[in-house]
């Protein structure tokens, strides 16, 4: 009997190894464990075995059944694994093909700079205001101490709409607006970023360009406060190592007035082509609000002082993103626009 079972096991072992499909496996199961299967028949054959051999016989048949069951489940697992492997193989794709990502949009660098400047000044408690671009002479000039025929008007060749209306040449126009609108004549802390226009169009000037104006009116404001504020502005936008230099200048709506240079962020002040070998880049105009401007805005210059500053946004954007030509800003080539789709790097200033 043992020999017979050994032979059957040997035979079965080979059969399991040869099985390729689940169907074959099931057929094998039928031929061994089905109604007329080998194991079933051996099992029912026990009744013909003499009693003293029954125990051994039963044990031997059981050995065969156990062998069958063990091999059945391991073969089944082998076949299933194979099937999964084949399926996965079939499903293998070319991962180098382009993704189905949705195209992302982009913000124009001009507006990116505006947002950055806004965020900075808002964090210092400034309000952002928006003045009209189609301004009147009164707010753009006269309330800023540019009398009619003032020679300083020459620097700002103006697009006039009629005798009184014009396209604002400077965001400073917002100064007169905000003072006028503040009926309680309380302290003011605002910036006004936006578009400005001048009759001037060449390689370095666009007839439309951007400025941001800042205005603080309060008690005991000094030039030193202005410098401290602009130092934060310069370091935050251009890098922590940026230095600020004041040079006296003239604007009708400030006195004292100054031009503000920043140390060249390209060469660190050593001198390069960007700063024309001077180590400095002229960035802003600024000064203490002229008493006439305060007075026209309804503020008593004996009680209030203030500072104002203004700078070009296009240049800031061009510096920040290394854009070589102002015209690129307004041409809107889609290849240009799409480049500005990343997060901005920001400079942290530590105190």
């Amino acid at each position: 009997m043992t020999e017979k079972i050994d032979n059957l096991i040997e035979e079965l072992k080979k059969k399991f190894e040869d099985i390729k499909t689940l169907q074959e496996l099931n057929d094998l199961k039928v031929s061994y464990q089905g109604k007329k299967g080998i194991i079933t028949e051996l099992n029912s054959g026990i009744k013909d075995v003499p009693n003293d051999e029954k125990k051994e016989y039963g044990a031997e048949v059981n050995r065969l059944r156990t062998f069958f069951n063990d091999n059945f489940s391991s073969t089944q697992k082998r076949l299933e694994d194979e099937r999964v492997r084949e399926k996965l193989e079939k499903e293998t794709i070319d991962i180098s093909l382009p993704s189905k990502r949705i195209k992302t949009g982009s913000k124009h660098p001009f507006n990116r700079i505006i947002e950055e400047v806004e965020d900075l000044f808002v964090s210092m408690g400034y309000d952002v205001i928006d003045g009209p671009e189609l301004e009147d002479d009164e707010h753009c000039f006269r309330l800023l101490n540019y009398t009619v025929g003032h020679p300083a008007r020459d620097a700002q060749d103006t697009f006039y709409i009629d005798e009184e209306y014009l396209l604002r040449t400077q965001t400073s126009a917002a100064q007169s607006r905000v003072m006028e609108e503040n009926k309680e004549k309380t302290p003011i802390r605002v910036i006004c970023p936006g578009k400005t226009y001048r009759r001037d169009d060449d390689a370095t000037h666009s007839h439309q360009f951007g400025q941001v104006e800042g205005l603080v009116i309060d008690k005991n404001i000094s030039l030193a406060d202005l410098k401290g504020t602009l130092e934060i502005f310069a370091k935050k936008l251009l890098g922590e190592d940026t230095n600020v230099r004041f040079r006296p200048s003239y604007f009708p709506f400030t006195s004292p007035s100054c031009e503000v240079d920043v140390s060249c962020f390209k060469c660190g002040g050593k001198g390069c082509s960007l700063c024309k070998k001077t180590g400095w880049i002229e960035l802003l105009g600024a000064g203490m609000v002229h008493p006439n401007v305060l007075r026209m805005g309804g503020y008593d210059p004996d009680k209030f002082t203030g500072f104002a500053f203004g700078t070009g946004l296009d240049r800031l954007a061009m510096f920040k993103y290394a854009i070589p030509d102002i015209r690129y800003m307004y041409t809107n080539d889609i290849r240009f626009l799409k480049q500005f789709d990343r997060k901005d790097d920001e400079y942290e200033i530590k105190y």
């Binding site: 093909l97 382009p98 990502r101 949705i102 195209k103 992302t104 949009g105 982009s106 913000k107 124009h108 806004e118 808002v122 210092m124 408690g125 400034y126 309000d127 952002v128 928006d130 671009e133 189609l134 025929g149 003032h150 300083a152 620097a155 006039y160 709409i161 396209l167 802390r189 009759r199 007839h207 439309q208 005991n220 030039l223 030193a224 406060d225 410098k227 401290g228 504020t229 602009l230 934060i232 600020v244 004041f246 040079r247 006296p248 200048s249 003239y250 009708p252 006195s255 004292p256 007035s257 100054c258 203490m288 002229h290 307004y330 041409t331 809107n332 889609i334 290849r335 626009l337 789709d341």
Partner: protein, 786 residues
């Protein structure tokens, strides 16, 4: 202002070179463009031509032996006037002239060690050159010393600083003004101007009628000189004019310019015999004609100030003299005018006619003390250099207030405004250096500001001067201590921008000025186009209303570069005039065409894509009550694929396809008046209850006539479905096989839910059947079998 340092040194000691002077002046507020030698040349020496022979291989070149003092060199020279015995300017081997470096060379086989120069080759501006300076080499006088510097000999050894002055510093448009500024800078005293001359006993004013008929002239001096000899000016005077950028003419004309440069007061010299005995200052008559010095006929207006004789205008005050009374080669007697006119009028006239050295000074304002000095200085120079006999007396009109300009400022105020630590004595020292008379009582400085400083009128201006001489850069930045108040910015505008970017559109920045013919396009609004009075070009002569023309131009630009997948937007102002009033609204516009998603899996923009962008935006902003209506569509849009965007019953914009008559490309646009939109109520973002029970989802498809709008079917479904119908979504629209030609099939997914319980099959089926029945009846629809 081109400053000759030689000229400056007449009146103040300058302890530094031109570049340092430029830098130091910049630090006190006077920027410069150029500082350095008048002529940027090196390696020049005076030579004497010893021998001059024809070049063996040329019909015009000469081979010269030139004595340079310490050596004799051979130079090949092509100038027609080269010859033995003359003294010349030699640039030696290694010399640098504008644009050339002189090297040892062979010219047609003959060695040449340098170059004999013309005046032109030294780099003098073309307007200063006489024909002989260009045509041949310079022939120096016998007094020229071989081996010495020819620039020194010619008087052209000068350093200049070209300043870009601020508009308030009219006083620096003079050597004397510069001398005071440089004096303040280095603490040096300013020297006196020589105003001496002798004059006759007669009284010129007696027989001369000076009539000032306009208040635009506040000061007028006229003085006569006789018997002048017109000739060339002395070399030093010519060179100073040249260094200052003014072309020498003759001694008399040159003196008028020289005095203007020196003192800042423009003068006019009349030929006294042609002028006659009357001089009137008045406003021009309308369309009055005047032939100016440059022989141009000028047509004047009532805003121009003129100088006139008995009959007619003979000069344009402050801008240019007239042709008829010009000083000429044969002039003998001269009337000198030194006057002050209204700067505003001069500025307007000169802007219209001609900007001159004179008008530039007049419009920045003049010092009345200098007006008289200028008369005296002219007499001084005319007497010396034109043999003039000065007639006694002077015609005078003077309405200028000569009150002292006294301004007080306290020590505390100065410190407060500048935010610096400065001592009382330092401030006193600065006032003294500036040449201001000052009284100080320990707290208040009482300053008598000299009349030359027309820029100073209030104490803040004095503080500015203290600041600039103290050194503005010495001010230390302070961190301000501010009240803690949160700042605000326009979050809505930024929300719109962020959402549009998130939706995959690229933001543009285009010009607000466009051709006026484009302004009324893409709008059905009633408004007047806002035009520029004096545009730069016709392409930019009006302010835009719709932003679509700008976006369309951006599209065209990119298309021309083969870039056809364009999805862009812009936020900008729309300008208009309505009921006589100007205004501007904030607009958002978008233009979409070509591929919207990625490059490989093309998904071209159609109406429903841009509609989706619009819905995404409006949903994001919290608007719930919006819809599209087919009305008020601009004529530039496709009437069958466009609509107005209506929020709470108000049209806020439009959306649709650009009309095929405008472009054959499939371009979709949208424009929303953000000011109008933002004025509508929106829903705040608040939690809404979510049902605890499962959804029941049913699909249904109807066949309807093509003209039936999905919106209408949805409305019927909504009212038939009752409150348990939570959503209706179109999942398929089909035309083609198995559907008649004039029909379409629309399939909907309906989602039912009850917040209180799980819905039974029966409840859903009842609602579903009711929907089918209603839609079939009301929309003339047929249920499509699965």
């Amino acid at each position: 202002m081109k400053l000759s340092t030689n000229f400056l040194k007449d009146y103040v000691d300058v302890p530094v070179d031109a570049v340092t002077l430029g830098e130091d002046m910049t630090n006190i507020g006077n920027e410069y463009d150029y500082a350095g030698p008048l002529l940027e040349v090196s390696g020049l020496t005076i030579g004497k031509v010893l021998e001059c022979e024809m070049h063996p291989d040329s019909d015009h070149l000469h081979v010269c032996k030139v004595d340079l003092g310490n050596e004799v060199v051979q130079i090949v020279c092509g100038a027609p006037n080269v010859r033995a015995g003359i003294k010349v300017i030699v640039s030696k081997v290694g010399a640098k002239l504008p644009g050339i470096e002189i090297k040892k060379s062979k010219i047609r086989g003959v060695e040449s060690n340098g170059m004999i120069c013309s005046i032109k080759e030294l780099g003098l501006e073309h307007k200063f050159l006489k024909p002989e300076d260009i045509e041949g080499i310079a022939e120096l006088g016998d007094d020229a010393v071989v081996g010495e510097d020819p620039l020194e000999y010619l008087g052209l050894k000068d350093e200049v600083v070209d300043f870009e002055l601020t508009a308030n510093r009219g006083d620096l448009l003079s050597i004397l003004g510069m001398a005071y500024e440089v004096g303040a800078l280095y603490g040096n005293k300013v020297k006196d101007v020589d105003l001496s001359f002798t004059e006759g006993k007669e009284d010129f004013a007696k027989n001369f009628n000076l009539n000032i008929e306009t208040e635009n002239c506040s000061l007028f001096y006229a003085k006569k000189v006789e018997n002048v000899t017109i000739k060339e000016s002395p070399t030093w005077m010519k060179n100073r004019l040249i260094a200052s950028g003014i072309r020498p003419i003759n001694n008399v004309v040159d003196i008028s310019n020289y005095v203007m440069l020196e003192l800042g007061q423009p003068l006019h010299f009349y030929d006294a015999d042609r002028l006659g005995d009357t001089l009137t200052v008045r406003m021009a008559k309308k369309d009055e004609h005047l032939k100016t010095l440059d022989e141009q006929d000028r047509v004047l207006t009532e805003d121009d100030i003129v100088i006139a004789d008995k009959e007619k205008a003979i000069g344009l005050a402050g801008v240019m003299g007239g042709f008829s009374t010009e000083v000429e080669e044969d002039s003998k007697n001269i009337v000198i005018e030194s006057a002050i006119f209204n700067p505003v009028k001069i500025r307007l006239t000169s802007k219209k006619i001609l900007r001159s050295e004179a008008s530039n000074r007049f419009e920045k304002g003049l010092d009345y003390n200098r007006s008289l000095m200028a008369i005296k200085r002219s007499c001084n120079l005319l007497e010396k250099y034109a043999d003039a006999k000065i007639v006694g007396g002077m015609a005078v009109y003077d309405k200028v207030s000569k009150e002292d300009k006294i301004i007080s400022v306290t020590f505390t105020k100065i410190k407060e405004v500048l935010g610096i630590e400065i001592s009382k004595d330092e401030i006193l020292d600065i006032f003294n250096r500036l040449g201001f008379d000052v009284k100080f009582d320990g707290e208040t400085y009482i300053v008598n500001v000299p009349s030359r400083r027309i820029d100073i009128s209030i104490k803040e201006d004095l503080i500015h001067d203290i600041g600039r001489l103290y050194g503005m850069d010495n001010i230390k930045g302070k961190k301000m201590i501010l009240d803690v108040i949160p700042g605000h910015y326009d979050k809505l505008k930024r929300a719109v921008r962020n959402k549009m970017v998130e939706l995959g559109l690229n933001e543009t920045l285009s010009y607000a000025l466009i051709p006026d013919g484009e302004v009324q396009k893409y709008s059905v609004d009633e408004f007047e186009t806002v035009k520029i009075l004096d545009p730069m070009t016709e392409e930019r002569n009006a302010l835009r209303y719709s932003l679509i023309p700008s976006l369309k131009m951006v599209y065209d630009y990119n298309k021309a570069r083969n870039q056809k997948d364009i999805c862009i937007f812009e936020i900008g102002k729309a300008f208009y005039k309505k009921q006589g009033k100007y205004g501007e609204d904030l607009h958002l516009a978008a233009l979409m065409t070509g591929n919207y998603k990625s490059d490989l899996y093309r998904d071209n923009v159609d109406f429903y894509v841009i509609k989706g962008v619009m819905e995404n935006l409006l949903d994001y902003l919290g608007y719930v009550n919006y819809k599209l209506e087919v009305k008020n569509i601009p004529e530039e849009l496709h009437p069958g694929q466009s609509a107005s965007i209506v929020v709470d019953g108000t049209i806020v914009g439009f959306i649709g396809k650009i009309h095929p008559n405008v472009t054959k490309d499939n371009i979709f646009v949208m424009e929303i008046n953000l000011d109008k939109l933002f004025s509508k109520d929106h829903e705040e973002m608040k939690y809404k209850e979510i049902s605890k029970f499962p959804n029941v989802v049913k699909d249904v498809a109807f066949i309807v006539d093509k003209s039936v709008k999905s919106e209408d079917i949805e409305n019927v479904i909504k009212s038939a479905g009752g409150k348990r119908l939570r959503s209706i979504e179109v999942f398929d629209v089909y035309t083609g096989e198995n559907v008649a030609e004039n029909e379409k099939s629309i399939a909907y997914t309906l989602t039912f839910n009850d917040y209180e319980k799980t819905l039974s099959d029966e409840e859903v089926t009842n609602a579903f059947n009711k929907i089918i029945k209603e839609v079939t009846n009301k929309c003339n629809a047929v249920l499509r079998d699965k």
